[in-house]
């Protein structure tokens, strides 16, 4: 397929290959050339050899000296009057302080679909040493070996005008320490001991017609090596003081203990048939992920049995979550009575607006295909059920919330299936990107938009157009689009980015991609991508929370968005997933911002379960 003059310009430094047979003596035009986006595949399969091939800018306007067949690379011996290349050749890389952005091509769509990772390029700083793993580049011989070039200009620095920070609202978190959980005659908290009423199980069962049985277990750290069904959700235990609304006022939260929900139907089939984080807890939980328990915490683990065959129906998981909240609610009531003297720590979260700084918005795509691919939005209590609306019922349309509402549990996640990439309720309570953007003095975080991912394509495009308009009327300078899990939600993920990008707003996309979650579709606005993968082999490794968005990803995304907003180039991704891109970027960010980025552990840090040993690593 021939290319247009515009494409030729964008790919000026890419190899020139004839798209179809051309007669000797013609003057080479864009219409004679093939789209470079397809070359990698051809090179891989051995159909094309680009050795000695001239670039598109060199051959345009030159004369073809002999008749050549289609897909013939244009080398110096078949072209007469080739121009000199405008930019220096690309191969130079290591330890240069300032390399001009050599291969200018701004990310053809094809590479995006393959890897989903991009190199970044930071917009400020001096005396930076680059270390680039040239040898680590995968396969394709022609892959540009000079990633992440730092342009010294301090373009990303904040605009000169000095505007005052404005605190829109504050949220106070009062932490109460819990060191022991016991059963007792009533639900109460004494000192640091939480008692859960004996016999509360009966009320959980009676609460929902579909709930047929319920068992409560208290898992202390010495019981971590216990077999468990698939974990449906992990939730913080928190309550509002007085009549305070979510996202403002005072929230009381218990430290050292979390709620954990598991469930099966009466036939013994797991709710969420496809989940497979079942097994020993300590081998299947990625400790310390935003959505997961931390090591040392006590789990109040409820196993709900729902009516036979409702495990795959929407009402099954909904009933399980609603019934389990009976226990959490009773604990919340007990927390409301707690004496102030028991407060172990008080934390104040401020929603700060920074007029004059680059205005950014976070769009979080949540699952909305149905059943447990659903989320309760804005309950009365943090991560509660009462008062909330399911986003499937809302039609998955965008819902704007404040960053503090996110951190105060405005999402009760019914959580989707893939254990490694799902965002559980606790994830939002500690959402790293919201925290990072809120605390970054160089940006003005204006809000968070939640948008569901419907099942049907027509609905996906319906909601993504709404996202486009929502962001347009915010006058944002930059946007993040994040998604959990992978699968058809990547269609609307790409569409959200397109809808925002076509309005001239740079967008950084964040998702688990790597090997198994490779994007199914791409577009030209998907230039800035951050992969949330942490697993060694780039796969859904069945370890709870392993590939979710972590602080290290938030830092990378923020650095990338600042670069993009400053109008600088970000290098295109390699065709195949290459984990070295991430480590190079992290080193660059550390150097420029002079801060150490703590990288998260992955499944390799867990006791090796037999299944992982044999299957994956």
């Amino acid at each position: 397929m021939s290319i247009t003059a515009e494409t030729a310009k964008a790919h000026a430094h890419d190899p020139a290959v004839l798209c179809c047979r051309a007669e000797g003596g013609i003057t080479i035009e864009p219409a004679n050339l093939e789209d470079p986006a397809i070359f990698d595949d051809l090179v891989d399969s051995g159909l094309l050899n680009l050795d000695g091939c001239l670039t598109i800018e060199e051959v345009l306007g030159a004369k073809l000296v002999k008749t050549c067949d289609s897909l013939c690379p244009l080398t110096a011996d078949v072209v007469e009057g080739a121009k000199a290349p405008s930019a220096p050749a690309q191969e130079e890389a290591p330890a240069e302080e300032e390399v001009p952005a050599a291969p200018a091509a701004p990310a053809a769509p094809a590479p995006m679909t393959a890897g989903g990772m991009l190199k970044i390029h930071i917009g400020e700083g001096k005396d930076i040493n680059l270390e680039i793993p040239v040898g680590a580049l995968g396969g394709g011989a022609a892959a540009p070996a000079a990633p992440a070039v730092v342009a010294a200009a301090e373009a990303a620095a904040a605009p000169a005008e000095k505007a005052e920070e404005k605190v829109v609202r504050t949220l106070t978190r009062k932490h109460f320490k819990i060191t022991e959980v016991k059963r007792g005659p009533e639900t109460k908290i004494e000192g640091t001991t939480l008692y859960i009423r004996e016999g509360i199980e009966a009320e959980v069962i009676d609460n929902q017609e579909l709930v047929k049985d319920f068992h409560l277990e208290i898992i202390t750290p010495d019981l971590y090596h216990t077999y468990s069904e698939t974990i449906m959700d992990v939730q913080p235990i928190a309550t509002k003081e007085g009549d305070d609304d979510i996202g403002t006022g005072v929230t009381r939260v218990l430290d050292g203990v979390v709620m954990m929900l598991t469930g099966v139907d009466e036939g013994g089939v797991q709710i969420g048939e496809f989940g497979s984080s079942e097994g020993y807890l300590d081998e299947n939980i990625m400790w310390g992920r935003p959505g997961c328990p931390d090591k040392g915490e006590i789990f109040i683990k409820g196993n709900i049995v729902v009516q036979e065959k409702t495990n795959m129906e929407r009402r099954g998981p909904m009933a399980a979550h609603t019934a389990f909240d009976i226990i959490t609610q009773e604990i919340r009531e007990a927390m409301k009575k707690l004496d102030e003297s028991l407060v172990a720590e008080t934390q104040e979260l401020k929603q700060v607006r920074r007029p004059g700084k680059k205005k950014v918005v976070i769009v979080k795509e949540i699952m909305g295909q149905g059943a447990m691919h659903d989320n309760f939005i804005l309950p009365v209590e943090p991560v509660g059920v009462l008062g909330a609306r399911a986003n499937v019922d809302l039609g998955n349309v965008p819902v704007c919330v404040s960053p503090l509402e996110v951190l105060d549990g405005c999402i009760h996640a019914l959580t989707c299936i893939g254990p490694a990439s799902k965002e559980m309720s606790r994830h939002y309570w500690r959402e790293p990107l919201v925290l990072e953007a809120l605390h970054d003095e160089e940006v003005d975080l204006c809000g968070v938009v939640f948008v569901g991912s419907p099942q049907i394509n027509a609905e996906k495009f319906y909601v993504s157009k709404r996202v486009g308009h929502t962001v347009e009327m915010m006058d944002a300078d930059g946007a993040f689009v994040t998604t959990e899990g992978f699968g058809n939600n990547h269609i609307d993920f790409a569409s959200h980015i397109e809808q925002i990008g076509m309005r001239g707003v740079p967008v950084v996309g964040m998702s688990y991609c790597a090997v198994q979650g490779a994007l199914v579709v791409g577009n030209k606005y998907m230039q800035y991508m951050v992969d949330n993968n942490k697993s060694e082999s780039g796969i859904e490794n069945e370890v709870l929370g392993c590939n979710t968005l972590c602080p290290e990803d938030a830092v990378r995304a923020l650095a990338m968005l600042k670069t993009a907003m400053a109008g600088e180039d970000v290098k295109a991704a390699e065709r195949k997933w290459n984990p070295n891109v991430k480590s190079t970027n992290v080193e660059l960010i550390e150097a420029v911002y002079d801060r150490k980025i703590a990288l998260e552990d992955n499944e390799q840090s867990l006791p090796m379960s037999q299944k992982r040993k044999e299957k994956y690593d």
Partner: protein
């Protein structure tokens, strides 16, 4: 990456099937030509309109290949636990109905 363990992984075949069941979180597909059956989460299924029983679907796939002769005891034990639990619960359900 494990795909280098496949001997025939590059052999991609176009397949078709029929949706035989749809619930709130999955679709079930019978492969045409009596070639098997699978059930997949809805989020792994791409559709322009609402999925319905009787619709035809298409996809590319290859042959599943055995990765080695070893049996993973962990999975065996999980399956066994699952089977026992289902049996127990089924018995209880039957007793209740009597």
């Amino acid at each position: 990456m494990n795909d280098e363990r496949l001997n025939y992984g590059g052999k991609i075949i176009y397949m078709e099937g029929i949706i035989v069941d749809v619930d709130d979180c999955s679709i079930s597909v019978d492969l045409k030509g009596r070639l098997g059956f699978f059930k997949a989460p809805k989020r792994m299924f791409i559709c322009d309109t609402e999925p319905k029983i009787g619709q035809e679907v298409g996809w590319n796939m290859s042959f599943p290949e055995q990765l080695g002769p070893e049996v993973n005891e962990k999975y065996v034990s999980n399956i066994e636990k699952e089977r026992r639990k289902q049996e127990e619960m089924r018995k209880r359900l039957d007793n209740k109905e009597v």
